[in-house]
């Protein structure tokens, strides 16, 4: 006779299995805690601050309802920053996709030294945006700027590149694109390498040209890579802060601010933490909406191409 009755042994083993299942869940607790501490809690705090007129350091603050959100619609500086933010986001994304795809296709070929070339193209991603901004500040500055020195070599007069808002915005877009183009290149490269070779061989046998293969095979097969790269680059562009801060500080005037740099300026410069928090929440919602819309569009396009 067994010392343990079957009626007791079965629940124990079930309990052990249940614990084993639960222990897997326990593994994500640190990540969950990080998410709550660094994302959920700040967002809740941000919303609560946005409903007050807090100056950012005083022990007192008053509830002002949605006043800060209403102010956003009347603020010309926010309007400028929002337009710039879209220029930074969309402009950088387009340039990064074009260059990223170009270099990915090029470096997917069997070329000598392509590993080195890939590393070199990816290298700027590893540089801090602050360092990148400082490097380009030294390129575009008036006195002893590399660009003006080049102009001088050819007899040209120096140009104050950063005092023209349009030029400064374009410079920021280009620098951001060059820095993060490597991310797109890596994503597209991995996408290209995952396309089964047999499909291309079959297309070649059917007489499809290289361009036709690219349009009808490569592009549809790269749709998941497109989606990842575009969404990542767009979010990065919409949140752009460091390069602007170092290169122009948002100036001349308010002309090159992104919403992110304007938030910093509003919080610390104008001591309007409540209004800055409201701007932050609006930026957060804009990014969420853009991301959802883009993902929806990519899903629909992929489904259409597959059909």
């Amino acid at each position: 006779m067994s010392s343990t009755s079957p009626g007791v042994a079965v629940p124990r083993s079930r309990r052990r299995r249940r614990w084993q299942g639960a222990s897997v869940n326990v593994l994500y607790l640190p990540a969950l805690a990080l998410f709550v501490v660094f994302i959920v809690y700040p967002v809740i705090q941000g919303v609560s601050i946005a409903l007050t007129n807090w100056n950012g350091y005083s022990p007192t603050r008053s509830f002002v309802g949605l006043e800060n959100f209403a102010r956003i619609f009347e603020d010309p500086n926010f309007r400028t920053a929002l337009i710039n933010t879209f220029i930074f986001g969309i402009g950088s994304t387009i340039i990064q996709q074009v260059l990223g795809l170009l270099f990915a296709v090029l470096l997917d070929q069997k070329l000598r030294g392509r590993e080195v070339a890939r590393a070199v193209m990816y290298l700027p991603v590893l540089v801090s945006p602050v360092v990148m901004g400082t490097m380009y500040y030294l390129v575009f500055r008036y006195h002893q700027g590399a660009l003006n020195d080049l102009l001088a070599m050819f007899g040209g007069a120096p140009v104050s590149w950063l005092s023209n808002a349009d030029v400064a915005v374009a410079v920021i877009v280009i620098i951001n694109s060059l820095q993060f183009m490597g991310i797109s290149m890596i994503i597209y490269l991995s996408g290209l390498q995952s396309i089964p070779q047999e499909i291309k061989e079959a297309a070649s046998l059917d007489g499809a040209s290289g361009a036709r293969q690219f349009r009808s095979i490569t592009v549809p097969q790269l749709m998941p890579a497109f989606a990842s790269s575009v969404v990542l680059n767009l979010i990065g562009g919409l949140k752009l802060y460091d390069i602007i801060q170092v290169l122009t500080g948002g100036g001349p005037g308010y002309a090159t601010n992104s919403v992110s740099t304007l938030i910093g300026r509003t919080y610390f410069g104008n001591q309007s933490a409540g209004y800055a928090a409201a701007q932050g929440i609006v930026l957060f919602l804009i990014i969420v909406v853009c991301t959802v819309l883009l993902n929806w569009w990519f899903d629909r396009t992929r489904a259409r191409l597959e059909n």
Binding site: A33, G251, R265, F268, N270, Y275
Partner: protein
């Protein structure tokens, strides 16, 4: 894998995260005093303060940890105020009463308090007469000049009484092939320009209007920004304005590449003299429309307060008292090229001594308070910089820039703080 180990590791990780976020607020538990100063790493003031800290530690056995910053100094202090974690002693950079007084220990009973220059009472004492910072620096600021450049251009710096005189001098300097004005888009110098002009640009009625919360847009555009616009239109600013830093301003003034700079001399003097020890730099009073010359000034950057929540308040007070000893106070004031805020402290002002003797010593000319600190709401300084910058760079007309000022003025006026 052993489930106990997994659970224990996960829970330990979560606990560590939670506990690390629950650290008590307030000043550091370290035994060293924390001392934050608004200055650059290579400033003469840093060398002097480091020497004084060593002497203080040798004398009392109290360690002092010095930290310094310029661009992010104010932002850092605002974050530290919000978290009630201010340094034990810190530079109040002109804001001991208006911004920091509720976080600072009143210093009325300190032995040096009776020696504070009465000229600072308006800017450094609150309604009850409390003083919150040790004024090692008393800012008396005028327009910085390179006297050699002016001489070469045929400008007599002693006779620039009205803005018309000043404009004529700028024209002469321009004609001599030198940039008449140097300013910097990478610093707050645009704000200094607006502050300098506005401090003696309005009638009593207009000043009352500002004080009572009504921003006079047309007066700001006409009396302040129109001067800037004129200088822009005539090409008087340095061509590298947008990318220039404060050090570039110092360099241009020191090397004779510019004639005038509208910033307090203490901001650029040390760098200028380092770049060119032979530079013939001085300062002159600020003109106004009626020819009533004046200076702007008050509490200087190097004024030091003691945090009310300091865990080492007694040591912090001892340190401030040590800095206030006449020979120490004189060294600090000399290092920033400024008068001392304490009476009985003799300061060697070096290259600026002649200008002080000519203009300040007699006390004939008034020293007006910085306009933004008296007539504009706390927090508008950044807008003053940006709007003046937008006129200098041609992004805005004086009227549009003044409208931006009004928008921010109306918003900040009455905000909690």
């Amino acid at each position: 894998m052993n489930t106990r180990i997994i659970r224990a590791s996960a829970l330990a990780g979560v606990a560590a995260l939670v506990l690390s976020g629950c650290a008590a607020s307030g000043s550091s538990d370290s035994s060293a005093l924390t001392f934050s100063v608004y200055m650059t790493a290579d400033s003469a003031e840093r060398t002097v303060l480091q020497e004084l800290i060593t002497a203080f530690t040798d004398k009392t056995g109290i360690d002092v940890e010095l930290s310094y910053d310029t661009d992010n100094y104010e932002s850092n202090l605002k974050v530290q105020m919000a978290s009630n974690n201010l340094p034990d002693v810190f530079a109040t950079h002109g804001w001991s009463v208006l911004r920091y007084s509720s976080f600072l220990e009143p210093l009325n009973d300190q032995p040096w308090a009776k020696n504070v220059n009465p000229a600072l009472d308006a800017s450094m004492r609150d309604d009850k007469g409390n003083i919150y910072a040790l004024p090692l620096e008393y800012t008396v600021a005028g327009i910085d000049v390179n006297l050699d450049v002016l001489k070469k251009a045929g400008v007599d710096p002693d006779n620039l009484k009205t803005w018309d005189d000043f404009d004529a001098a700028l024209a002469k300097v321009a004609a001599s092939g030198v940039s008449p004005l140097t300013a910097s888009g990478k610093s707050s110098s645009a704000g200094n320009i607006a502050d300098y002009i506005s401090s003696n640009a309005f009638t009593d009625a207009q000043l009352t209007s500002f004080s009572k919360g009504t921003f006079d847009t047309s007066a700001w555009a006409q009396n302040v920004l129109s001067h800037v616009k004129t200088w822009v239109d005539k090409g008087y600013f340095n061509p590298d304005y947008s990318s220039a830093s404060l050090d570039d301003m110092a360099s241009q003034l020191a090397q004779g590449q510019a004639g005038f700079a509208l910033v307090p001399a203490s901001s650029i003097l040390a760098t200028a003299m380092k770049l060119n020890p032979e530079a013939n730099i001085g300062f002159i009073p600020i003109p106004n429309a009626q020819g009533e010359q004046y200076f702007v000034g008050g509490e200087g950057v190097s004024s030091f307060g003691v945090s009310k929540s300091s865990a080492h308040k007694d040591d912090a007070l001892k340190f401030v008292d040590f800095l206030a000893e006449p020979e120490n106070a004189a060294k600090v004031a000399a290092s920033v090229g400024s008068y001392s805020g304490l009476t009985g402290v003799e300061v060697d002002l070096g290259v600026l001594q002649s200008s002080y003797d000519t203009w300040v010593a007699s006390g004939d000319l008034p020293t007006k308070p910085f306009f933004d600190r008296v007539y504009l709401p706390n927090g508008i300084w950044d807008t003053m910089i940006a709007t003046t910058d937008s006129v200098i760079t041609g992004q805005s007309s004086p009227t549009d820039a003044a409208k931006q000022m009004k928008l921010q003025f109306d918003t900040l006026y009455g905000q909690a703080g």
